[in-house]
């Protein structure tokens, strides 16, 4: 199996052909979504989940911490955005800032409690904390609105210089979300392919060795946890705008499990782009399969089970297998 670590030649430029394809797809989606029988809002949803999934994979695929409670940070971001609009000010950047900040703080706190856990104990504790947040969201009714959540969250206008865009227009909102997703993707790609990303993968493969060559494993884990919570918070803020509401459902174990499924099915364990493929596949399954049969989740679940059994490296792994020539060794670098 080809793994994430198997990308030796990577230089500094993120503008590889998959990135080009991704950005092109992101930029042109409104032009072809409707003609192929889908709808505009789907684009927004997919872009937000791609953002969430890519941030999550830094934790899941790169450093190998298998969180099953990551929906919590998406939810915290969504609530923070809504509460900011309702209690502080109707402001786009203020709201998104609050979303990122709240999720970052929560992530930093939980990360500090979790970063010395290993293996399945990490997974168990992450579920525990996820449930804690979910439960609190339901029960702190006077703040969060309980099971119904916060309703009627506004989409503030986007102001750039003298220009003002009304984000209540779904097309304008899509461009806004797509721009953020594209930008964050570039940053995450750079991070994953910089020394930082290599250290994360080294820690995943052998924590003991990493600490004995001088890496502060705890700190890397904590930083990664916090970072991926921050990205989830940003996605959550956008999600609150998209839904114009924030509700506890996104924080449930079910949702946290779904993001794990998406990332894994797509091939997040072997490729940076795995999560993108996974999100696309999930939403296509939901909308296309879901249009044909009400039992689409059954079929998606079965596909997932089969995938874990025979092809845990996911769709990206399949593609790599097809693409890779027998001798794919890169030319050695650094020899004068």
């Amino acid at each position: 199996m080809i793994t994430l670590s198997d990308i030796p030649r990577r230089g500094g430029s993120p503008f590889t052909w998959p990135m080009g394809l991704f950005l092109a797809g992101l930029a042109t989606a409104p032009l072809w979504l409707a003609p192929i029988g889908l709808y505009q809002y789907l684009g927004v949803e997919i872009a937000i989940w791609i953002l969430f999934a890519l941030g999550f994979n830094l934790l899941f695929g790169y450093i190998g911490l298998h969180s099953f409670g990551h929906g919590a940070y998406l939810g915290i971001g969504a609530y923070a955005f809504g509460l900011f609009q309702k209690n502080v000010d109707v402001s786009l950047w203020g709201g998104l800032g609050a979303a990122v900040l709240a999720a970052t703080l929560a992530g930093a706190l939980v990360g500090a409690c979790l970063s010395h856990r290993r293996g399945i104990y990490f997974a168990l504790m992450s579920i525990g904390f996820g449930q804690l947040f979910w439960f609190s969201a339901i029960k702190l009714r006077h703040i969060t609105g309980g099971e119904d959540g916060l309703l009627g969250i506004p989409r503030p206008d986007l102001v750039i210089g003298g220009w003002r865009f009304d984000l209540n227009d779904n097309a304008a909102f899509y461009w806004f979300v797509a721009a953020i997703t594209g930008l964050v993707t570039l940053v995450l790609w750079r991070l994953a392919n910089a020394p930082f990303g290599r250290v994360l993968q080294a820690i995943r493969q052998n924590e003991t060795r990493a600490s004995f060559v001088g890496y502060d494993v705890w700190r890397y884990k904590w930083a990664t946890f916090t970072l991926s919570a921050a990205v989830a918070g940003l996605a959550g803020g956008l999600f609150a705008m998209a839904q114009q509401s924030a509700y506890p459902d996104v924080m449930s174990l079910h949702q946290s499990g779904l993001i794990v499924m998406m990332v894994l099915v797509g091939g997040g364990l072997v490729s940076f782009w795995g999560p993108v493929l996974g999100v696309l596949l999930y939403f296509i399954a939901r909308d296309v399969l879901g249009g044909l049969t009400e039992t689409w989740l059954l079929w998606y679940g079965l596909m997932f089970v089969v995938m874990v059994m025979v092809r845990p490296e996911g769709v990206a792994g399949l593609l790599q297998g097809l693409r890779r020539r027998p001798d794919g060794r890169p030319a050695p670098l650094g020899k004068a």
Binding site: H66, F68, C113, H116, R117, R118, G119, I120, Y121, A123, L124, M125, I127, G128, F129, Q131, L132, F135, S136, K139, S252, L253, H254, G257, V260, M261, L264, T295, L297, L298, Y300, G301, L302, F304, V305, V308, M309, V310, P312
Partner: protein
């Protein structure tokens, strides 16, 4: 203190029920080091199968069906109590076969596979039995309620708690006092040893998984009259089950039982004073216990940490 007593009794009963819920989960995680996230779904499946057995869903129109429905509820209930778990156990066997490719890989894969299986089972339940809430009938003898210290206790809850004690002791005796139990426990520590003794490890795993799934189903049938029946019940079951295992310590039988009772007491007593927050107390307990003992109350080192 005296005012607290009924709540403590209530908490203890609840704790025993939690122990019953966690029993099958514990067996599978202890012996096979697989976190069976489908545990809750197997639990629900067992309960629904019992419902269909009592209600003669699939053969009501036949002569046998009308004879069956003529029998008293008690008789049908006893049969359902056996049949539900057996069929859930059969589903467990199937799941174990699916799990085989994940052995020897990171524990994550077992977790993921059973998560997917949980989703599938839940959808199947929705498909077969519909999404509405249903009610499992129970014999008149164990129905009803009585008053104790100003609180109403349901007779059935006490029956269920008693049943839990029997089940816990039964499983414990099976593990401790029978040769099968000895082999299963050996398999938990040293699979090489089991092979060297001439036992077929894959058969052992199959049986353990089937047995664990059957216990899940059994717990489902017992709990259904208390919690009601809905397709997404699984999640309400698997979460406490695994909180209990983590608090008690993976691989420790009595650790889990103690943890279950602690969780029951925490939920029961919190329920008396802040009902809205009673379920949260489980998580607080988890964070507290694991804050001090990273392997839970009586846990030992296991491969799951890798």
């Amino acid at each position: 203190m005296l005012a607290l007593l009924p709540h403590i009794v209530n908490g203890l009963t609840l704790g025993l029920l939690f122990a019953l819920i966690a029993l099958g989960f514990m067996l599978i995680v202890g012996v096979m080091e697989v976190i069976n996230l489908a545990h809750g779904s197997l639990f629900t499946l067992g309960a629904y199968l019992a419902l269909s057995t009592i209600g003669a869903d699939w053969f009501a129109g036949t002569g046998f069906g009308s004879w069956w429905l003529g029998l008293p509820v008690a008789a049908r209930y006893v049969v359902a109590l056996a049949l539900g778990p057996l069929l859930a156990g059969a589903a467990g066997l199937l799941l174990e076969l699916c799990l085989r490719p994940t052995y020897g890989k990171a524990p994550l894969y077992g977790l993921l596979l059973t998560f997917g299986a949980a989703l599938v089972i839940e959808e199947v339940i929705r498909l077969v039995w519909g999404t509405g809430e249903q009610h499992l009938p129970i014999p008149a003898g164990i129905d009803g309620a009585f008053l104790l210290g100003g609180l109403i206790f349901s007779t059935y809850k006490f029956f269920a708690a008693g049943f839990s004690i029997v089940a816990i002791l039964g499983v414990w005796l099976f593990l401790e006092r029978t040769p099968y139990g000895a082999i299963i426990k050996a398999g938990a520590h040293d699979s090489e040893m089991v092979r060297a003794l001439g036992y077929d490890l894959s058969k052992l795993r199959l049986l353990v998984f089937g047995f664990g799934a059957a216990l899940a189903g059994l717990a489902g049938v017992i709990m259904a009259p208390i919690w009601g029946l809905r397709p997404h019940l699984g999640i309400d079951v698997v979460i406490p089950a695994f909180l209990i295992i983590v608090i008690g310590g993976v691989g420790s039988f009595w650790g889990a039982v103690i943890a279950a009772i602690l969780v029951g007491l925490a939920v029961g007593v919190t329920g008396a004073y802040a009902p809205a927050w009673s379920l949260l107390s489980m998580y607080v307990l988890l964070v507290l216990v694991l804050g001090f003992r990273s392997r839970g109350l009586l846990g030992r080192k296991s491969a799951l940490e890798n």
